[in-house]
């Protein structure tokens, strides 16, 4: 699919209204020849591995006898789609993505608005807020694990000292609580990333728009709802796309924090277990392809939605 849209002369913007002349054809051929080397490279680095993974997912490779394999068609997919594990992981991954991405967007917008204000030390603060994002996920996961450790973790200790609920909870050992910790760890780490994208969106909104609103007597809240938010939408949607695609592939947080226990196993973890731990190459590849398709469908929906949005905004601006 990706290749098709890349082929020159197929894009709707260059679809000619008049009959194709010999000159056009020659020109297209040249364009094709000039892009061919990069197309071949793209095919090699992107299409070939994906194609190979699809091929693997249609086979079974023996874990008992070396070198033995058999073609099973869609059996691996049928097995995955009829298993409880896949649907549990599917639901859990979407729950995680939904919760963490919404929180990240809300907090990220708030953070971007703050960082956009003119104050002393703004440059320093902009760098500092990025720190969580610079920490390797596995390292931050271990930190969160330590903080929520029963009896001696920072969070559990503070909660029980203050007499608040949650102090005597084994956070990573209970359904719901375990997911909450994973969502918190993700929000802490990636909100700065969302904030940065949204901040970039904020900075392209011209000061004149705000001046006009002020002259018309709009309140701060009206300005925010009617000017800032609509104009910020493309940036927010962009942040949402990046974050959702990342969140749907979540692996390191549940892997370190719970090993998938207590309703936190993600689609990627399931594929990893089959591929790496069990060496079930066919079954694991099918799970990877299913994860890939899920992420792709979600991002296509997003891009459609965002595309319309960006066009609307462009029209309004004209």
């Amino acid at each position: 699919m990706a290749l098709k849209t890349l082929l020159p002369g197929r894009s709707p913007s260059v679809a000619p209204a008049r009959p194709v002349s010999g000159r056009d054809r020659a020109e297209r051929k040249l364009a094709f020849r000039m892009t061919a080397p990069s197309l071949v490279i793209m095919a090699l680095v992107a299409a070939v591995p994906i194609g190979y993974a699809i091929w693997l997912s249609l086979n079974q490779y023996s874990v008992r006898t070396a070198g033995l394999s058999r073609f099973v068609g869609l059996d691996n997919y049928v097995a995955a789609l009829t298993s409880n594990e896949w649907w549990a992981a599917f639901g859990q991954t979407f729950l995680f993505a939904g919760l963490s991405v919404s929180l990240e967007l809300i907090l990220g917008t708030a953070m971007a608005l703050l960082l956009n204000l003119a104050f002393k030390g703004r440059a320093v603060l902009r760098t500092v807020v990025l720190l969580p994002y610079a920490i390797i996920t596995v390292v931050s996961a271990i930190t969160w694990q330590t903080m929520f450790q029963p009896n001696m973790g920072l969070v559990t200790n503070v909660l029980s000292t203050l007499g608040l609920p949650g102090g005597d909870v084994v956070w990573l050992g209970e359904h719901g609580y375990a997911m909450a910790v994973i969502v918190m760890a993700d929000v802490w780490k990636t909100t700065p990333f969302a904030a940065l994208i949204i901040l970039a969106g904020l900075q392209v909104i011209s000061a004149e728009t705000y001046e006009a609103a002020e002259l018309d007597g709009a309140s701060k809240w009206q300005t925010f709802v009617n000017i800032t938010l609509p104009l910020l939408r493309p940036a927010i949607v962009l942040a949402a796309i990046f974050r959702t695609m990342d969140a749907l592939r979540v692996f390191d947080l549940p892997f370190v924090l719970t090993r998938g226990a207590n309703g936190t196993e993600s689609m990627s973890m399931l594929a990893y277990t089959q591929l790496r731990e069990n060496r079930l190459v066919g079954e694991g590849s099918a799970l990877s392809i299913l994860t890939f398709l899920t992420v792709m469908v979600v991002s296509v929906i997003y891009v459609r939605f965002a595309g319309g949005n960006i066009r609307d905004v462009a029209k309004e601006e004209q």
């Binding site: 000619p16 000159r23 056009d24 020659a26 020849r33 070396a66 050992g173 790496r276 069990n278 060496r279």
Partner: protein, 439 residues
Amino acid sequence: MDLNRPALPLQTRAAPPRNRKALASAAIAAAALVLSACGGGAAPQGAEQAAAADPASGANASGAVNICGVKDASGIYKGTAEAFTKANGKVTAKYTEIGATTDEARTQIVQRLEGKSTECDLFVTDVIWTSEFASQGWLLDQTKLVEANKDRLIPSTVETTKYQDKYWGSPFFTNAGLIYYQKDKVAKPESWQQLYAEAAKAPGNGYVYQGKQYEGLTVNFLEMLYSAGGEVLNEQGDVTVDSQETRDVLNFMSDGLKNGSADRAVLTYNEDPARLAYESGDFGYQRNWPHVYRLLNATPLASSFGVAPLPAWEGGKASGVLGGWNLAISAHSTNQAGAVAFIDFATTPDWQKHVAMDYSQAPVNEAAYSDAAVLEKMPFATELLASVKGAKPRPISPVYPQISQAIYKNVYAVLSGTASTEEAVQRMAEEITAAKASF
């Protein structure tokens, strides 16, 4: 870019129409080349066709030997390689770290073996990898070598290298669970029932173990199951886990969490958090590995803790699960004689003493445990030997990872309260049966 603008003179020299086709077929050919390179396409080749190591070859060995394995935290691998090089004179050995954790090392080893790499002559392998690697035809058959060295090796440790009646590695050092207990608060554990009863008596007496959903939970569960007389697979390899013993042990463990014998926090503990919790002084018993001894000695608990072998099940006998590391010779090694010479050196009674004295690991030679110099460095050697000798290997199967998952996921479900014992036992048996039927 506007493609409809007037063409430049350069472009009027139209390319012949077959060019596009030629390009496409070139791309397909390139893709096919990559695909076939990845495929390998070797004929089936398993344990049956494996070559055997010659025990006599070690004497005339020369050249270099490369030993590969996990990060050398205790220094034992590099230390042994150096000592061997010095003692041998003809063969030089070096140790290459190919993974920071056990899981990573396994991935790296599997990649090298699948790719028929000649980089490593010897692999340091976890005891649970033996059957998987052997079944793939990746290792040299060490039966003759092990038979020749058998009188100096503890039998239970040799069993961990066995698959289909042959030996695929030589034990290097072993590992077995121990109970650490607070002598000032609780009694020495004689049986699991007594330990749990004692642990429930007072809030500070509790028992900590490894109850997170991972391999460690399989080990903790099997230690009790074996002592209760249960098993996962029988001698013939049939699934026998659906038994009264399995139900008894699961009920016992989950009751222990409910009545306060064990803190619910164990559901999140692997080795280190369990040790840290115990070091806080709020607990009476801890199940952990021998390396914890040295660490506990550096805490305020140094004078008050004791070490005991794993207890017996009431009415049963004491048992346990063997850990530890074996030396396996790669089927693609270019210096098999050198590898044999290294194994000969590493398993000598004399070097096995150093394994304990210099690196605090459990020797595979029985005499080392009663050596005066060893006992001075490792005062719990007698208890450790009892644990090692009573311990059994984990289920032996090329699909062991799947079997272990079936165990720890279902045990965890019972402990965390999301499944009843009955459901869990049935599911465990079903999943192990399905795993064993893997293609």
